[in-house]
Amino acid sequence: MLSLALERDAHDGLFPIHITLETEARIVALSGPSGAGKTSILKMIAGLLPPDRGHLSVSGSVLFDSDKGINLPAWKRRIGFVFQDSRLFPHLSVKNNLAYGRFMNGLPRDAAHEAHVIAMLDIQDLLARDTGALSGGEQQRVAIGRALLAKPRLLLLDEPMSSLDDKRKAEIKPYLLRLAAEGVPMIYVSHDADEIAELAGEVVSVDHGRAR
């Protein structure tokens, strides 16, 4: 269950942003033109961009509530974020990028889950490589794996498949659906109408920072 009402006034060069969402849908898609404020909404949910007021709770856990003075920092929210640009750490190998979230959250090693994610994303051969030596699509697959292995309670995906080919998209989509069915809710930003229709249980249109 995802419940949020977040508002941010116009400042720091950004237009005002407003989103209200109460949903049981496992995958919510945010759609809208470029520059509509979709990424800013994801950042507010992740705790990377402070809202001025509102509330946010995921599966009963309150992460932000301006009335009660609750505002968990990003690192305590357990909200995974797959960015449009992969943002892999250039000083760490692929393997260490993947292990980063588990290490930071003090999670025990789950070899089965790890093997499952690695196989699904087909990144086994990339593990020992430097991130700089990967193609855009490879980087994005590792970034998805990195977010998943941190075992987030909510996964935010900002056009995660824009740099993947159709074959890889087709492979990853069922996994995202399965992951959602297993209980990891997702908010998914995409321009691709087919992708949205295939994945999302609910679609929210965003325009000029207002979601409806």
């Binding site: 690192w75 995974g80 943002r87 750490f89 979230g101 977010a147």
Partner: protein, 234 residues
């Protein structure tokens, strides 16, 4: 023919003191330099411009004035120096440790500038990604910002070392030039210049000084290049 190039024991001593003073001065100022650079690069706070100016003050102040201030503050009768000597037995004035302190203060602006540029170049987006993966601000700093800025930090340390190696004005004002204790290469060159027929000694020490400084600058440049290529990687 090349005999004039070999250093006398006293000259070796001056080279040794210079390297010791520059090494410890750099090492001691490194954590402070990193903290100041990070603060100035990432944080907005009241008094930031003042702190920035204070860090850079030794760069524009006559070194003798810096030495005099050190004498007033850290000397045996100085505000802090007397306290440290009475309660902890730590004495800086007329000791090589005082020379290291003077060198550290004179090298700090160069160090902070280089490290700050390096922190400026570390993409915030990597730090944001680390936070969404559960890294606390301290862990983001230790596991992302610091390693990515590392070549710049090394370049800053080398620049500080080179500056410390050539320090003269603040050092001689604060700790004088006591052979075997505080007489550095620069002080030895100055002393040799005052001595009749000291030109050969001056030339020898000058060559050593040029060699060490040149090597340090080349190392700093190599580090900066490495930093640039790393930052451009992703």
């Amino acid at each position: 023919m090349m005999e004039w190039l070999s250093l006398s024991p006293q000259e070796w001593q001056a080279v040794g003191i210079s390297v010791k003073v520059a090494f410890w001065g750099t090492l001691a100022s490194l954590p402070i330099g990193i903290a100041l650079a990070f603060l100035l690069s990432r944080k907005r706070f009241p008094g930031r411009a003042l702190l920035d100016a204070l860090v850079h003050l030794p760069l524009v102040l006559p070194p003798v004035v810096t030495g005099y201030i050190l004498l007033m503050v850290m000397g045996r009768k100085g505000v802090v120096g007397e306290f440290l000597a009475t309660h902890f037995g730590i004495v800086f004035s007329f000791r090589w440790t005082g020379a290291a302190l003077a060198a550290a203060i004179m090298g700090l602006p160069l160090m902070v500038r280089a490290i700050r540029l390096s922190f400026d170049a570390v993409h915030r987006r990597h730090e944001e990604a680390a936070a969404t993966l559960g890294a606390s601000p301290v862990m983001v700093f230790l596991t992302v910002s610091l390693p990515l800025a590392w070549p710049g930090i090394m370049a800053g340390a080398i620049l500080c070392f080179a500056k410390a190696l050539g320090e003269f004005g603040a050092t001689i004002t604060f700790v004088s030039a006591i052979p075997g204790e505080t007489e550095t290469i620069s002080a030895a060159i100055y002393a040799a210049l005052q001595t009749p027929d000291g030109e050969t000694n001056v030339m020898r020490l000058a060559l050593v000084s040029i060699a060490i400084s040149f090597a340090a600058l080349l190392a700093a440049q190599a580090m900066t290049r490495k930093n640039r290529s790393r930052q451009g990687g992703l």
